[in-house]
Symmetry: C2
Subunit: 230 residues, 2 copies
C-alpha cells in the first residue's frame, strides 16, 4: 500500500462548528433572530452560490464574496434589511472566526507529527489563515479552492492540492464529515477518512457515520490520530 504523506481537511463542519459559532455571534451582536435558524439560512445558500461557478456560468470569486451575497439575500427574511453596509461587512467576517470542535486542536497537533497538513476547503486563503490564528491550527500550506480557482467537489480542487505537495492522489488522504466530499476524493484516487459530526446541523442532524465506502471512519480527530499515528 502506498504510504500516506499528507492529510487534507474539509473545514466547515468537519473542523469547526459553523452553526454554533454563527448563532453565538448573532447573540453577541443582539440580533433579534433565532441564531441557529439564521446560521442555517445563511449556510443554506452555500451550495447554490457555488453551483454557478462550478458549472462555468460565473468566474471564480472568493467564498467571502459568496458569503456576503448570501448574507444580503437572507437579511430581509429576518427583518434585518436595514443593516448598514459596515455592519454587513463586519458580520460577514464571522466565517473567519468559527470555533473548532473540542477535539480538533489536539488532533491536528498529533497528526502533524507524521503528516503534512492542509485545509482542502472551499474557504479562501485569508479566511483559512484567520481561522487558523483564531483556533491555533498550524497548517503546512493553505491549499483548496482559491489555488484551484474552483469549488469542491470539482476534481481540479483536490488534484491541485496533491500537485502543490508533489504527491500522487494515493499519497493523500481526504478527511471530512461529509460523504459526498469523500466520494469525490475516492473517485480521484485519494484515501479517505470520515469524521463523525452527528450534531453539525443541530442535535442529531449530521453524519454520525459515512454512507459511502471509506478507508477509515473515526469518532473525532483524536481518534483518527490514534489510528494513523498510534
Amino acid at each position: 500500500m502506498t504510504e500516506t504523506r499528507a492529510l487534507f481537511f474539509d473545514v466547515f463542519g468537519t473542523l469547526v462548528d459553523w452553526r454554533g459559532s454563527i448563532a453565538r455571534e448573532a447573540a453577541r451582536l443582539r440580533l433579534p433572530v433565532d441564531g441557529a435558524a439564521f446560521a442555517d439560512a445563511w449556510r443554506g445558500e452555500y451550495q447554490p452560490a457555488m453551483a454557478r461557478i462550478r458549472e462555468g456560468g460565473r468566474g471564480y470569486v472568493k467564498l467571502d464574496t459568496l458569503h456576503r451575497e448570501n448574507l444580503d439575500r437572507i437579511l430581509p427574511r429576518f427583518g434585518l434589511e436595514t443593516m448598514s453596509e459596515k455592519d454587513r461587512a463586519a458580520l460577514n467576517l464571522i466565517w473567519h472566526r468559527l470555533d473548532a470542535w473540542p477535539d480538533v486542536v489536539r488532533g491536528l497537533r498529533l497528526l502533524r507529527v507524521k503528516f503534512l497538513l492542509s485545509p482542502m476547503s472551499n474557504g479562501n486563503i485569508s479566511l483559512m489563515a484567520d481561522m487558523a490564528r483564531h483556533n491555533g491550527f498550524h497548517w503546512d500550506a493553505i491549499l483548496g479552492s482559491e489555488i484551484a480557482r474552483d469549488y469542491k467537489p470539482k476534481p481540479g480542487v483536490y488534484l491541485a492540492g496533491c500537485a502543490a505537495f508533489d504527491l500522487e492522489p494515493a499519497q493523500c488522504m481526504m478527511v471530512a464529515a461529509h460523504s459526498d466530499d469523500l466520494a469525490a476524493a475516492t473517485a480521484l484516487g485519494l484515501r479517505t477518512a470520515h469524521i463523525a459530526r452527528p450534531d453539525e446541523h443541530g442535535p442529531g442532524k449530521g453524519e454520525a457515520a459515512p454512507n459511502v465506502p471509506v478507508d477509515l471512519a473515526a469518532r473525532d480527530l483524536v481518534h483518527l490520530a490514534e489510528m494513523l499515528v498510534g
Copy 2:
C-alpha cells in the same frame, strides 16, 4: 500612515543560507567538488532560468523543475556528468532543506505576534512547506510564485499575495536582503524592510545595506522585530 498587517519574506538568501547549506550537502555526500563553487554555479543559473518564464517564452513550471534543469546543466562542469538519475533527484531536494540564518526562527516568532507572515519567494509551495518543517517556521499561508504562476520581480507575484490576504499593497511589507526585490515591491506600493546579509555569496559578498530607498533597514530579523513589535 496605513497600518502594516502582513509581512512578506524573500527566502533564498534572506531567511536561509543557500550557499552554506549546499556546500555542506556536497561535503556530506562526499562529492569531489569545491562545495561553495558548486553552490555558486547552481545558483548562477537561477535568474536566466526564470527569465524565459517571466518574458512569456515558457509557461510556468515550479522552481524545483528549474533547479533540476540547472543541476543537469552544471554537473558536467564539475566532472559529475555520470551522476545517476536517482542521485540527481535526491540532490535537487537539498533546496527543500536549506538552513536558516541564526536570527530567523526567533525573529519570525516575535514578528508573528503582530503580523500575518508569508514567504514571498520564487520557491514552490512544497519547497516552502518542507523548508518550514526543516527550520521550524510557522507561516500563515504560502503565497509567492506558485499561486501567481510567474516569478518575481513580476508585479503579479507580489500583488497576488496582497490579494490572497485581502490587503492593499500599502498594508503589506516586503522583507528582503536584495535591493532589486525591494525596489519592485516599492513600485507597487508595498512597504519595505531590508535585512543585511553581508555574507550571502561568501564572506563580504552580500548586501550589508540597501542601495535603494527603503522604509526600514535592519541588521537581522530580530532587529526588525525590535523595530516593528517593540
